[in-house]
């Protein structure tokens, strides 16, 4: 069973703290404080290939990439290129894309009995 949210990162890129903050803000906005975020460091090219890691940061929600990369994107230890909704290049996903992905991919909250 995959972690509900897994943030894959490579320490050679300084962008994952911002993405972690954006994820926490989005979860709070959606009222999903029940969701845990697991941080996983990718340290080798072999790990990157094994995890289909195309760059740091990569956000997996219920095992699916929050912002799916282009087909055939090579894996590796690198900073990941995202495009913001205004078209600008960015080292982090657009927070609006994160919110949309959370709505789309997260399982519904468990009902209290």
């Amino acid at each position: 069973m995959p972690a509900e949210i897994e943030l894959l990162y490579w320490d050679g890129c300084p962008s994952h703290p911002q993405t972690l903050a954006d994820l926490r803000a989005a979860l709070a906005e959606l009222g999903r404080r029940d969701i845990e975020i697991t941080l996983t460091e990718i340290t080798t090219e072999r790990d990157a290939a094994a995890r289909a890691f195309v760059g740091s940061p990569t956000v997996l929600i219920a095992g699916a990439d929050a912002v799916p990369p282009p087909a055939q994107e090579p894996t590796g230890l690198t900073c990941r290129l995202y495009l913001r909704r205004d078209g600008h290049a960015s080292p982090t996903p657009d927070p609006a894309d994160l919110r949309d992905a959370l709505r789309r991919l997260l399982p519904p909250p468990a009902k209290e009995s």
Binding site: G12, S15, Y82, R84, H88, S90, P91
Partner: protein, 175 residues
């Protein structure tokens, strides 16, 4: 470690994307901006247009801007000389884009990330080192730290903020 503010910059001659051997110091006493950058890094791409605008705006004031790619193209094919030439041919650069294939220049300058920005005064001494401005996400900042440094150097004033923390992707060294 980068060389210190006020120190003479290490000299170099590097090829541009047309094969022209390009020296650090060309027109004698020009104020010079050196930017270590690359093709694949999202930080370099986020700041790219702001840096090209600086090259366009300050060129008529006698400022020379040199952009250098030092990344290992074997590990990062998007930083290959061919990919550099493609970007230049597409009109993405407002000043020469140089290839530091041996990475000796990046090592000599202590460059660590892309983008990493250096301003040299008319004597070739370091007057500013750091990021273009405070936020790669905010294009309205317009590389203001770099512009402030250039304005000061061109007016022969001390640079008020001579050092900032460069932010970006690590330079991809050869193993």
């Amino acid at each position: 470690m980068p060389f210190a503010i006020g120190a003479l910059a290490p000299s170099f001659i590097l090829p541009d994307t047309y094969g022209n051997q390009t020296p650090l110091r060309d027109a004698g006493d020009a104020v010079t901006v050196v930017v270590f950058t690359c093709n694949h890094c999202p930080y370099a791409l986020a700041w790219h247009d702001r840096l090209q605008a600086v090259a366009r705006d300050y060129g008529p004031r006698g400022v020379r801007v040199l952009q250098i790619n030092s990344n290992d193209a074997a590990r990062y094919p998007r930083d290959s000389p061919e990919a550099m030439s493609d970007r230049v041919a597409a009109g993405e650069f407002s000043s020469p884009y140089l290839h530091d294939a041996t990475q000796e220049v990046a090592h000599a300058w202590g460059a660590a990330v892309t983008p990493d920005v250096y301003v040299l005064d008319r004597d070739g001494r370091l007057a500013y080192h750091g990021a273009p401005d405070a936020d790669h996400h905010d294009s309205s900042l317009g590389a203001q730290w770099l512009r402030d440094a250039l304005d000061a150097v061109l007016d022969a004033r001390p640079v008020a903020l001579a050092e900032t923390e460069p932010v970006g992707c690590s330079i991809k060294w050869r193993f």
